[in-house]
Structures are given as C-alpha cells and as structure tokens.
C-alpha cells in the first residue's frame, strides 16, 4: 500500500526557503506569484493491513515536528 505523507510548515511560521524561491521566481519574470511555501513528501510503502491510526502515529512521532509543521496523509 503506497501512502504519501505531505509535510508543510504551519501558517505563520516563517519559511525562508520559500521566500528565497519566491524572490527567484519574481526575478525570472513570473508575475502574480503571491507566496511560496516549501514542504516535503514522504512516500511510504506499507503492509496492506496497516492501521490508519498507526500512520498517524508515525507522523506525530517522527515524520512531522508538530511544533512547526502540519501533515496530511494521502493513500495512493
């Protein structure tokens, strides 16, 4: 079972990388970019009978730092 965990910075948390990329996009002449936020995707290959609660626990215990990050679980 392929599962994706999408980890993003919470709103209100400064994202210097996003800011730099935003600046670069503007520099390349792309107008209308209001904001850029950078996150990460973790792809998990899990046993088919994996309990969804266990995936949530993986996120809370390791994959995301919930002080600064949100996470979203997507089944492929």
């Amino acid at each position: 079972m392929k599962t994706r965990v999408i980890v993003t910075l919470k709103s209100g948390v400064l994202d210097p990388q996003g800011k730099a990329v935003h600046h670069a996009l503007t520099g390349l002449g792309f107008g209308g970019v209001n904001d850029v936020r950078i996150g990460k995707i973790v792809e998990l290959d899990l046993a088919d009978d994996t309990d969804p609660q266990q995936i949530d626990e993986m996120c809370r215990k390791l994959l995301a730092n919930t002080v600064i990050e949100n996470y979203r679980i997507e089944q492929a």
């Binding site: 948390v13 400064l14 210097p16 730092n65 002080v67 600064i68």
Partner: protein, 222 residues
C-alpha cells in the same frame, strides 16, 4: 564530578565538549554511543554535542532524538541530572521534547560561522551562575538551523519564568526574541546554539567566555 558526552553518527563537536568537560571537571567524560540504552552510574553532567547527527536527515536532530540513548538521557533529566545541549545538541533536545520550540533554517538561509555577542539574560540558572545579569559575552556560533521558533504563548512563558538563559546581542539567525539558549522548567536542561566549549582557553581561543558556563555548572552541582 562525573560527566558523559553522547556521540551520534555525525557528531563533530563531541571531542571539543569532552575536552571542555575534562579541563573544568578534572576528569575525562565517558563517551556514550547513541545505541546504548543505559548511561554509566553516577553521571552528574550529560553533554549533547554539536555536529550533524545522522546527517541532519528529515530535520536537524530528528533522528538522534529517537535513538535509544536519548531515552536514557530523558530519564536522567527527569531525575535532575544536568543536561547541556550545544548547537545540534540543542536541536536534539527540542526534538526529544526536553525543551520547547524548534530550531528552524536561519532566516538569511546562510550557514553562520563566527563569534557572536551574547547577553546573559538570566544569571540565576545553574548554567549561568558564574556570569552577571545582562553581562555581554562573546561565544562562537556555527549553524544553519539556529532560528528558534515557538508560539507566542510559549515565548511569553519562557520570558516570564526566566528560562531564556542567553540572547543574541544583534541579528544572527532570525531567532524569536533573539533567543540563543533556554532552560527547561526544572532548570537542569540547557540548550544553546553558541559553542561555549570552543571558548574555554584565552591562549588558544582568544577569550575564555565559555569556560564560566562549565565552572558555574560544576559549582552548582557540587
């Protein structure tokens, strides 16, 4: 006075920290590998060193925080053993939950490696007893992820409870409220981004501003 230094794969300030502890306590610390599940008996000070534990994979300090030895460090901290986390060690302590908040990428995106001016924000902690309140000191930093973040309620609580030990005297990395180092609520765990162990000998390091952190701590424990 017995001390230990935790060694993770990718630690690179473990020997500096060990030398600082040896020079100030008079006894060489025990080096404890990250796979250990117990610490040696009778440890008074645990040092969590700087470096790039586990290659900073996932997040700085994230993997190290889940290593077997950190459970033993958490247990020791709960018993009141002094824990000093420097740089990557600070990141490990926040990831472990021993200290609140998180260390994020520097606001300027650059790795910052230079001596910085600090202010002693609270000289009443067991780590800062040899400094004066509001004293200006200079200690080197070398980090990419030193931008301290916590929500406003947490920051207010840290300030209100005197748990900010050191602040940057000028802009360094975008840290919330210029926080360079904080202690836990019990006061026996300190995390800081600057490297006091790199400034313990005036002859070799130019100044010895970091030495008093170790001396004050030893005095507080003895």
């Amino acid at each position: 006075m017995k001390s230990a230094v935790i060694v993770f794969p990718g630690s690179n300030c473990d020997r500096d920290l060990a030398v600082a502890l040896r020079e100030t306590t008079g006894t060489a610390p025990v080096m404890v590998w990250h796979g250990e599940t117990i610490l040696p008996e009778g440890i008074d000070i645990i040092g969590v060193p700087g470096g790039f534990s586990y290659g900073d994979y996932l997040r700085s300090g994230a993997m190290a925080a889940r290593s077997p030895v950190m459970r033993a460090v958490s247990d020791a901290a709960a018993r009141g053993v002094a824990v000093l986390g420097v740089c990557n060690g600070f990141q490990v302590l926040t990831e472990t939950g021993l200290l609140p908040g998180a260390l994020m990428r520097n606001a300027g995106l650059n790795f910052v490696c230079r001596d910085v001016d600090l202010t002693v924000a609270n000289s009443q902690t067991m780590f800062t007893a040899r400094y004066d309140d509001a004293e200006a000191i200079r200690i080197p930093v070398a980090h990419h992820d030193g931008n301290y973040f916590a929500d406003d309620a947490t920051l207010d609580r840290l300030e209100g409870e005197g748990r900010i030990a050191f602040r940057y005297a000028g802009p360094v990395n975008g840290s919330a409220r210029d926080i360079a180092g904080i202690v836990n609520d019990a006061g026996n765990v300190l995390g800081l981004m600057p490297h006091p162990e790199r400034m313990i000998e005036a002859g070799a390091h130019g100044r010895a501003d970091g030495r008093r952190l170790f001396e004050g701590l030893i005095e507080a424990i003895a």
